[in-house]
Symmetry: C2
Subunit: 524 residues, 2 copies
């Protein structure tokens, strides 16, 4: 999976995968109100970068090259893409660092603290929540770790590997494959995000049940903090005090830089089977998925599409569609799949007689899944509002949440665009006590006003999630965009604890300020 | 399971279950060197309590009653029992508080902070690691929560309940039973420990695989800290920042008092099946258990006894014994049990032809399991050294750890007692990447010297665990007894963070000082 393709400075992934202008124009039929042709992509060489405000010593692996700075000006949210297309690079980093060793990471943090330069660890740069973009007044440095991308050690007996934080998904999987092992963590950003980024944001991955987040795949962490290196022991389980790893999981770069982790691995699955079922109405569909989630069967896949989402995927008309998948490296899985489809039937599901061949169907879905962000970029060029947001809540509140979010976000879309849009939903991950709905919004925007329009829709979404006690993010992280929702959700004593921890581990306040916590004023 | 029996002030559980003198004497045959008769149990009314140093206002639910203070002088470790039998109550609390409402907990913490009185939340008081006994110079209060013991709310749809922190195991299960639900968290201390105590110590429970600790059963927590109430939202999963709950799980009372939690529940199992297998040699036995732990089958029970432990349990002679159990509320489990026993056979196991009837065998084992601490107390009265310690490590190190611990702890026993003792082992919990060995030490001690002798053996055990990178505790917690091992294991930046958090949430430093962190000097 090595690629020589060029990373896009303005949109998702690589430039060779971006939709050509004609394909963008072809999307005009999707929604009334879209223009006939896409807006052009500016040539980054024509854009004005603000002068850099820092002069790092030449001994540090830091560049002020304009192309590198422009490429790190934004994350990969819809609003980032729109802003990039508008050509405004005023917020670009003053420099980009790309250390090749952990010692260089330490040196960088020391220099940054002494020089009052903000450091934003950017992982693969694929944040969709404003996690990799500094919004304050100090000079700042985007810290790339992608040169630290090796699998350093494999323990085949315990099925674990020590992996550097900068390894992109395909890079680490390619190194594990010769050992017959896999991490099996496949977020949508898999190709363009790093292990360290996954850990820092508590990313959601392959498994729809049980080990839904990367958190549970962690055996130990190594984190460079400004006050020293934090390395936990490799332990399968422990009861020794609060988990040190859980403090850094989800810390989004405000406490330190994740340079290595021992990760729990899987044998490559030998048996796979999948099936689908359709349901009439939300109640039946949610009841079926809940029964499956509470039966202790732990399917690898358990994805429920609402009728709108199913229609977009070409899967069904007017029905809910549940896709189930089971896998094992040790035992045939037909029996487990039958137990799952029996539960679907018992709750009114119509199970497809001939489920698609496991691998082919899964590959097709995965390929389309990985393609979605490129389509989003094409739609963004067509001035559509096109974005997703995700949450989680307990089962007792799910149906109300689903209806209320669709109604209120739909109202917000109609208010800002003057026309109805689509608000679709799928459940991406399910739990014995609840589920994680993932909403997609699609509407025609007004060229030049898209960011403001989306921000208003997003504010409505965040408001209803908070009011109903649903999390502001299930796996996209908090970043800067989710701060109001996060502040509402986070218990105040925990905020006190996190501030105290931040001050103790990052006394100069240089690590990703503004994420999770307010940036402290100068001279604090 | 309501009982009118009296709790023992010196030993485990209730007085009616303690071994009578003759039964204690009958244990003399177990080991050479034991005396013919047990030491007497002092009458607590004859013992001298230090004068109380505090005069709490009468509006607070605090008593200085001598019996209440004596009952809270010690936890329930072996060394606690021996010290209690010696009649030394010098370390007893100055008073005991038993709030009936959360508001009273708040008032107590406010008063304690203003009066510089240490507060030790004692849960059920069953700590075996010195977690409920203050060893500093300030006056101290034992805080009992057992009046806060109600199941306040049940959500049958999401299978969760809001439960007060002071509920003992049988008390909360009795309230869940009418709903057809169960927490299914059964530590050995089940009858005498509380939900809040389990959460504060990351207790290990019923499940040998997957959800081994109570941590994973938590949906949300409510914690009274000295700076305010910390309440997290009920969420099945979230990626919003570091988990606030994971900061309080394992915090052992140093950050706040756990007054309520929403806990994830199970349907009561309808199908159960169990089987056993025997193995020759550690290598074959560990390989079999590892294969099972890595197969994704998640047996509820997967307990491996070494030959010494099996012999003590009357199960086998010279062989390793593996006990497997599967349970489900939804599906028959015979197929899963067969998959497990096939794996055992494939790794050289001889599977018993007629596995014991699931319930009867499990009940017998459970009854014997719950009886063990009473036998320990009987042996303690016979001046035996009799204690357990537990750990966890990855599979690649397990066989070396097993051999080295047995050798070095055996040497320590021989050195301090002048004769060989028993050092047995079982695996209580297993993971895809490792296992949790639980060691039992049994040797003849010298009357009057038992605590010093045990402390020397324990120091040897802690030293070898730390040297081999195995955790100082898998589920017994840190308390005061495990501090040196914990300090060795805990990454230093995490210690910095924990100290900062402690200072921010408990500025007066009154909550369980000395546990997890050093007590700050007066006038800090």
């Amino acid at each position: 999976m090595t690629t020589t393709a060029t990373r896009s400075w303005w949109g998702w992934g690589t430039t060779d995968q971006a939709l050509p202008d004609d394909e963008c124009a072809g999307l005009a039929g999707l929604l009334p109100g879209l223009p006939a042709r896409p807006r052009p992509v500016p040539d980054v060489r024509d854009l004005v970068l603000p002068p850099t405000r820092i002069a790092p010593p030449s001994t540090l692996p830091v560049t002020t090259d304009p192309a590198a700075r422009a490429a790190r000006a934004f994350g990969k949210a819809y609003r980032d893409v729109v802003r990039a297309l508008s050509g405004d690079l005023a917020g670009a980093p003053d420099a980009v660092a790309r250390p090749a060793t952990e010692a260089e990471v330490v040196d960088l943090l020391d220099w940054a603290a002494a020089s009052d330069v903000v450091v934003v660890p950017v992982g693969g740069g694929s944040s969709v929540v404003g996690g990799v973009e500094y919004r304050g007044d100090r000079p700042w440095l985007a810290l790339e770790l992608t040169a630290l991308d090796r699998v350093l050690e494999v323990d085949p007996v315990s099925r674990a590997a020590r992996i550097q934080g900068g390894a992109l998904g395909p890079v680490l999987e390619a190194q594990l494959r010769p050992h017959g092992l896999t991490l099996r963590h496949f977020p949508q950003s898999f190709e363009f995000s790093t292990l360290g980024g996954w850990l820092a944001t508590r990313a959601g991955g392959h498994y729809a049940t049980l080990h839904t987040h990367v958190d549970d795949l962690v055996e130990s962490l190594r984190v460079v903090t400004p006050v020293g290196v934090n390395e936990s022991w490799r332990l399968p389980g422990s009861g020794a005090g609060p988990s040190p790893d859980r403090l850094f999981l989800g810390s989004e770069g405000i406490l330190g830089v994740l340079t290595e982790a021992w990760m729990r691995l899987q044998d490559r699955p030998r048996w796979k089977a999948s099936a689908s079922a359709t349901f009439t109405g939300a109640t039946a569909a949610f009841d079926a998925v809940r029964a499956i989630a509470q039966a202790g069967l732990h399917p690898a896949n358990c994805r429920l599409l609402d009728p709108g989402e199913a229609a977009l995927a070409g899967a069904s008309s007017g029905e809910w569609v549940l896709v189930l998948g089971v896998e094992s490296a040790v035992h045939p899985v037909a029996g487990r799949l039958a137990e799952l489809t029996d539960l679907a039937r018992a709750h009114g599901g119509r199970v497809a007689d001939a489920p698609g061949a496991g691998d082919a169907a899964a590959d097709a879905w995965r390929s389309s899944f990985l393609r979605m962000p490129y389509v989003r970029d094409g739609l963004a060029r067509m001035s559509a509002l096109v974005e997703t947001f995700e949450t989680a809540c307990t089962w007792d509140r799910l149906e109300e949440l689903y209806a209320t979010v669709r109604a209120e976000v739909g109202d917000a879309v109609a208010r800002v665009t003057g026309a109805p849009g689509l608000v679709n939903c799928r459940l991406t991950h399910v739990y014995p006590d609840g589920a994680a709905p993932y909403f997609t919004v699609l509407a025609a925007g007004r060229p030049g006003a898209e960011v403001a329009m989306w921000d208003e829709v997003k504010a409505a979404a965040s408001e209803v999630l908070g009011r109903l006690g649903a999390t502001i993010t299930h796996h996209h992280a908090v970043g800067r965009d989710h701060r109001p929702g996060y502040d509402r959700q986070r218990p105040e004593p925990f905020a006190v604890a996190l501030r105290a921890t931040k001050s103790a581990l990052d006394p100069a306040g240089v690590l990703n300020p503004g994420v999770l916590l307010d940036e402290l004023p100068a001279g604090r």
